[in-house]
Symmetry: C3
Subunit: 360 residues, 3 copies
C-alpha cells in the first residue's frame, strides 16, 4: 500500500501509466462506472478549497464510489485538539482512501504514516500539491500530443508558487525539456529548484522578466498569480503587475500550436478575452484534473488491495538532533511529533525536515 505525498513518489513510468489510464477513462467512461463500487473516499479539508475537493469528489463518484468528509477545520475533530495521527487512524475505519488538504506542511505525510488506507496529499501549505501536477501533465499531453521535447514557459510568482516547483520537478524527468522562467526579480525561482533540480539534471533554462519576449518560443505557457503582498515596495508591484497579465494582444505573439495553463482560480492575471482562444487550456486542465484523480484513486486502491501493508518509512539515516524552524511545519502545531531530519545533500551539507522538507 502506498500513498501520494509528493509528485516524486511516482516514477516517470507511473506518470505515463496514469496518463494512459486517464485517456482511457475519457474514451470509455462507462467502463469505469463501477470500478469503485462499495468504496469510500474521505475528503479531509482543513482549509477550504472547493475546486480541489469537488474534483476529488467528482472523481470518486464517476468511479461508482461514494464520498464523506469535511470542508473546513472548524467542522472537524481537529478543533478538539485531536492529532493528525489519531484522525488518520480513525478515518481509516470509515473510508478506503483519503485525500487531505491541510495548512500545515507535512500533515498528509504524518497521516500516511498512521493510516491503514492510502493517503493522497491534496495540498499542504506551500509544500506539495501533486494532483495539480498530474492535471498539468495530462493537459500538456492532450494539448500538445507529447510530454517530451517542449519549451515550457513558467510565468509569474516562481518563488512561492508550489505548482510551478512541482511541475519543474516532474517535467525535469522527461527528455527534451527546456524551461523559460518569466518573473520579476523579486519572484525568481528559488535555489533548491535552480540547483537541486534544473542544474543537477542538466535541464536547459533561460530567465527573463519579459513575458512578451518569451512568448514566441513557448510550446506551453504556465501562468500563475503575482500577489501584491509578495512585494516589499507596493510601487514596484504596481509598475510590474500588468506586464505579467496575459492578454489577447500577448497571445498574438505566441505560436499557433501552443497551450496556456493556469492552476486556477485566476483573479485577473489572464484576461477573460483570452478564454475563447483555442490555446487557452486552463478550463480543460480542470477537467483533466478530475480524470487524473480518477486514475490515481484506481491505482492506489489496486495497490492497497494487492498489498494492504503500509510501506514502511525509511528510518535509516534519520537525524534526531535538530528542530524545524519552519512556522508552517506540522511539527509546530503537533508537538508530540518527533523532530526528524535527513541529509539530502552530503556535499553541500544540507539537512531537511522529513515532514515539511525545509532546510535545517
Amino acid at each position: 500500500m502506498r500513498s501520494l505525498i509528493s509528485i516524486l513518489d511516482l516514477s516517470v513510468e507511473e506518470l505515463d501509466q496514469l496518463i494512459a489510464t486517464a485517456k482511457d477513462i475519457i474514451a470509455h467512461p462507462e467502463n469505469y462506472w463501477d470500478k469503485c463500487a462499495h468504496k469510500k473516499l474521505a475528503t479531509l479539508f482543513y482549509e477550504p478549497s472547493t475546486r480541489t475537493r469537488l474534483s476529488f469528489e467528482a472523481a470518486m463518484l464517476e468511479l461508482g464510489g461514494s464520498v464523506l468528509g469535511f470542508s473546513e477545520a472548524s467542522s472537524s475533530s481537529a478543533s478538539k485538539g485531536e492529532s493528525m495521527a489519531d484522525t488518520a487512524k480513525i478515518l481509516s475505519c470509515y473510508a478506503d482512501i483519503m485525500a487531505i488538504r491541510h495548512p500545515k506542511e507535512g500533515a498528509p505525510f504524518v497521516a500516511s504514516n498512521n493510516a491503514t488506507i492510502p493517503v493522497i496529499n491534496a495540498g499542504d501549505g506551500g509544500h506539495n500539491h501533486p494532483t495539480q501536477t498530474l492535471a498539468d501533465l495530462l493537459t500538456i499531453s492532450r494539448e500538445m500530443g507529447r510530454v517530451n521535447d517542449l519549451t515550457i514557459g513558467l510565468c509569474g510568482d516562481l518563488k512561492y508558487g508550489r505548482t510551478v516547483h512541482s511541475l519543474i520537478e516532474a517535467m525535469s524527468r522527461y527528455t527534451g525539456i527546456k524551461f523559460v522562467l518569466i518573473s520579476p526579480k523579486e519572484l525568481k525561482i528559488p535555489g533548491f529548484i535552480r540547483y537541486n533540480v534544473l542544474e543537477k539534471h542538466g535541464i536547459p533554462y533561460t530567465e527573463t522578466d519579459s513575458l512578451e519576449e518569451a512568448m514566441p518560443q513557448l510550446d506551453v505557457l504556465y501562468m500563475t498569480r503575482i500577489q501584491r503582498e509578495r512585494f516589499d515596495d507596493p510601487y514596484e508591484y504596481e509598475r510590474l503587475k500588468d506586464s505579467y497579465v496575459l492578454t489577447a494582444e500577448k497571445m498574438g505573439l505566441a505560436k499557433e500550436q501552443m497551450c496556456v495553463l493556469h492552476p486556477l482560480p485566476r483573479v485577473n492575471e489572464i484576461s477573460v478575452k483570452v478564454d475563447d482562444d483555442p490555446r487557452a487550456a486552463y478550463f480543460r486542465q480542470a477537467l483533466n484534473g478530475k480524470y487524473m484523480r480518477m486514475a490515481l484513486i484506481l491505482k492506489l486502491l489496486e495497490e492497497a488491495k494487492a498489498n494492504p501493508i503500509r510501506e514502511a518509512i525509511d528510518t535509516s539515516d534519520l537525524e534526531y538532533d535538530r528542530v524545524c524552524q519552519n512556522p508552517k511545519c506540522i511539527t509546530q502545531t503537533e508537538q508530540e511529533l518527533p523532530q526528524l531530519f535527513r541529509c539530502t545533500d552530503k556535499a553541500a551539507d544540507i539537512h531537511r525536515c522529513i515532514y515539511c522538507e525545509q532546510r535545517a
Copy 2:
C-alpha cells in the same frame, strides 16, 4: 440546453407537464430510481439554506444520482476572489447540473451564461426563487385538485416577499384566478407586480389589511412572514403583527375546502396549533418541493441531452449606457461584468438591468 432562472422561463404547458411528472413520481417512485444514475448534481450554496439545499439533494438522490457541492461561501473558491463565470465553467467539469443559491441578484443568470450544464436558480437575493413556486403550484394542484378558478389570498409582506411575486407571476397565466392581497399598508404589493402583471393581464384583485375579513372567500391562503425591520416605526410593527398571525380561531372563518401554504421556515406567523388542521398544507408543500425538483432535474437533463448547446442569450436591443444602482446586483461585486440593460416597457420608458431586473 436550458437553465431555470425565473419561473417565467417556463410556459404554462411546461408547468403543467412538470406537475404531471411530479404526480407520476409520487405514484410510482420506483420507476424513477435509476433515471439519473451516473449523473451528478452540484449544489452551490453561497448562503446557507438547509431546506432548499437538502430538498435538491434528496431529489437527486431519489433519482439515483449523486450530489456534491458546498453549503456556504466560506468553504468555496469565491473567498479567493474567483468570478461566478469561472466557477460555473469549472463546476461544469464536475457535475451534470447545478443549483445555485447566492445573495447577489443575477448570480445564477451569470452562471447560466457560462456553464456548459443546466443551471437552476435556488434563490438569488430578493430576486427569484422559481423552485419554491414550483412547490407552491404542485401543492395547490394536489390540495385543490386544480390550478385554475381559485381565489388566492396572499398575506403578510407583499412588498419584499419574492415567493409572493413569483407565485403571482405564475398564477396570472392560469384562468379564473383572483387574488386577495392582505397586508399592512407599509408592505403592499409593489408597482411592478401591480401594473406589469396584475393590471396588464387583467387579473382581478382586491386589497385589504384584514386577514379575518379576507378569510371566508379564500381557496388558498399563502402566508409569509412580516419582519420587524421592514417598519420605520417599531410601534406600528407591534400594533400590527398579531393581526397577521394565523391562529386556529382565524382558521374557523375559512372554507372547509381550502389550504394554507407557507414557504417556510415559519417563525411565529402561523400558530403551531394550526399544524394539525387538515387544511394546513405547508409541510406537504415542503414534500411537494422535492418532487417538483425531481421533475425539473429530469426535464433539464433531458433537454441538455437532446441539445447540449447552451441557449444563446438574446443580445438584440441591449443597452450599454447605464449602470445598475441595485446594491444587491451581482454587478456590484463582479465589476468585470458588462453593464447591460434592456427596455422592458417602451411606452413607460422602463429599462431594466439584465442581471437583477431592477429599473435603471
Copy 3:
C-alpha cells in the same frame, strides 16, 4: 416506529441482537451492501463532531444507502429561528432516518416527537450519546468474548462524562458486572448514577483515586479525559493530571487479557506509546461504532417499515407546574415547548424534566 434517544430505550435482548447483527455484518459485509438501497440518512449536526458524523455516514454508505445533511448549525435553518419540531417535520420529507447532534439537551427527543421517520440521538449536550455506548458494548464483547462477568474500571471524569454514565446504565443490566470507579474526588460519580443505578440494582462497585492500584483487577479499562476547567484549583489539576494518564508503565500492571477503551478524541490522557499494545482497543472501538450504527439503522428502518406510526409519548402522569432550570435544556432556547415534568422516584420525591431529565 421507534427512535433511539437513550441507551435505556433498548432492552438487554435488543442490545444482544444489535451486537449479533454487527458481528454478522463484520463476517459478511457483502450481505449488507444493498440493505438500505434507495434509503437516505439525514445527519443534522448542530455542533461539529467529525468522528460521530462520519461514522454514521460510513455506516449508511456501507448499507448501500445515501446521506445528506449539515455539519454545523450556521449552515442550517436553525440560524433563521426555525424550531426543532418544524425541522424534524421537514427533514422527514427528505430522508428515511435521521441522526441528530445538538448542544441542547432534549433536542433529539423533541425531534423524535415530531418526525415521521426514526430519530437517532447522536449526542445532546452532556445528556445522552447512546450510539457511543453501542460501540462500547460491541468492543467489550469482541475483545473479551462476553459482556457478562467483567470488572470494569472507569477512569477520569466520572462526574460529567456522559459516556461513562451511559455505559454504567447499560452494563448494570448484565450479570456479574463489578465497577471500579477511578477519579479524583472532584470528579466522582454523581448521585443519580450512584443511587439510582448502582445501588438500586445492587451492582458492586469500589471507588479509588489511584489508577495504578485499580489496574491489576480490571478486565476492561474505560479512560476518559480530565479537563482543566473542571477544577476550581488549577494547582490541584496540575498535581493530579498525570496520575490519570495511561502509560505503558501502568499497562504493565494490568492483566494480560484485558482491554482499554476510550470514546475519543483523546488529547493526552493515553500515551501514544500504549497504542501498539494489543490491549489498546480504542481504535477498534471506533470501527465497532460504525458496525453498531449499521445494525441500529437496519433495526430502526425495519421497525418503521413494519409499523410506520410513531410511538406515542406517554402522557400519563405528566406534571405541568414546574419550569426547567437547566441552562442546557432545549426548553431554554425553544420557549414555545411546554414545560413538562414527570415524577421518577416517588419515595425520594424526584421530578425530572422530560426533555433533559434534569431534576426540578
